[in-house]
């Protein structure tokens, strides 16, 4: 999963400080692997350098100075492209699928359309693998079987997530 695109997606929702981004990321996407502050600020600095985000002026408070980051037009285009392009169908996609669906709901985007596009990409890949089984050796068949079962598991997750979108939308709205 792309940490930088996920943080950029969180910035699309609202301009944020690094601390808030880390908290949102860890709540929804980290799954036991929280981001270090160093990783958050390095990623934000890179996004700013590449013109995807802008750092506001230092703000003075009780603690150390901090900067609020905002997304740029180029950053918005990157998030849009990432969310609307189906991931390359391959086993173990769950983290990226989950991140895209959750972010799409946070941003009020059509998560169901994204899931439909991903479903189509998966079925196409399964059709290719099934043909490979018909034409290849037993080893090809076994490898294709492995891919097919994992893609099938993803598809079942996609179907169930599509059925749970309303509940998920309610949950992320309150973040």
């Amino acid at each position: 999963m792309s940490v930088s695109l996920t943080l950029l997606g969180l910035l699309e929702r609202q301009p944020s400080y690094g601390y808030d981004l880390k908290r949102a990321y860890d709540t929804y996407f980290a799954r036991g692997k929280p981001l270090s502050f160093g990783q958050v600020y390095t990623t934000l600095a890179r996004l700013a350098r590449d013109g995807k985000a802008i750092a506001g002026p230092p703000e003075h408070g009780d603690g150390p100075d901090r900067k609020r980051y905002s997304i740029t037009e180029a950053g918005l285009a990157d998030v849009d492209r990432w969310l609307t392009t189906p991931a390359e169908p391959e086993p173990h996609l769950q983290p990226v699928l989950f991140a895209k669906v959750t972010l799409a709901l946070m941003l009020g985007r059509p998560a169901d359309s994204y899931l439909d596009a991903q479903r189509v990409a998966h079925i196409k890949r399964m059709t290719e693998l099934t043909r490979l089984k018909g034409a290849g050796s037993l080893v090809d068949t076994l490898l294709a079987d492995y891919g097919l079962f994992h893609l099938e598991a993803d598809l079942r997750w996609i179907d169930l997530t599509a059925a749970r979108l309303n509940d998920l939308r309610e949950m992320v709205r309150d973040l």
Partner: protein, 230 residues
């Protein structure tokens, strides 16, 4: 004259059973020789779509076309004749006649089509052989495994030389490996014979044998995966 690019077409068809709508404006086309998988969860309307395309019952509204003519406006006896002569069927549990042997089951539709008895049984033996059931023609269906019975059902459907074969969850009662064998034979022989296949399934691994897949949800065709280049 060129063959039509579309063999089947459902145009905005709706069908209800009592107060329960099964189809709410489904539209789909099937090309000659194409293997189309109709996918969807239970209760999505996919089997109803198959039944309308096969002329088992007409839709309440909308149109169904087969080979350039309206199918939904035919009388029941005309639709029955069409099904007997032009379509083959494979259902989840085979729907074989249990009192008859495998060969009898395959020969029966040929006899109903007024083929001579000798020719009907010769064809039956040939198709059983092609489905890997040589030597099992004399067995009653109760003596066959699930996979064997399903292959008899495929033989019965293809022996008629149909224009189209309709399969509703053809591997639904089979284990994975046996289901794979049945799908390999069904799609392989259909491609070889140029038979159009419409297979209804909730199982994406079965659908992956098709040339093209469409998704049905809440009585409407919601997505067309499109043809995957060979």
């Amino acid at each position: 004259m060129n063959a039509p690019a579309v063999l089947f077409e459902a145009r905005d068809i709706a069908k209800s059973f009592g107060q329960t709508p099964a189809l709410r404006g489904a539209t789909v086309t099937v090309a000659p020789g194409e293997i189309l998988a109709v996918m969807g969860p239970s209760g999505s309307g996919k089997s109803t779509l198959l039944h309308c395309l096969a002329g088992i019952f007409p839709p309440d509204s909308g149109e169904v076309w087969f080979d350039g003519r309206r199918l939904d406006t035919l009388t029941e006896s005309e639709r029955t004749r069409l099904r007997r002569t032009a379509f083959g069927f494979v259902f989840q549990f085979g729907n074989l006649v249990p009192e008859l042997t495998a060969a009898d089951n395959v020969a029966l539709p040929l006899l109903l089509k007024r083929a001579g008895r000798k020719e009907a049984y010769r064809q039956a033996a040939r198709w059983l052989d092609r489905l890997g059931l040589a030597g099992k023609g004399a067995r009653r269906t109760g003596e066959l495994s699930g996979g064997e019975a399903q292959r008899v059902a495929v033989a019965r459907a293809l022996a008629l030389g149909p224009r189209a074969l309709f399969a509703d969850e053809p591997t639904g009662s089979l284990d994975t490996l046996t289901g794979e064998k049945v799908m390999n034979l069904l799609t392989g022989l259909a491609r070889e014979q140029g038979v159009t296949v419409i297979v209804v399934t909730h199982d994406v691994r079965v659908a992956a044998y098709a040339d093209r897949q469409v998704l049905v949800r809440d009585g409407v065709v919601t997505a067309d995966v499109g043809t995957v280049p060979a």
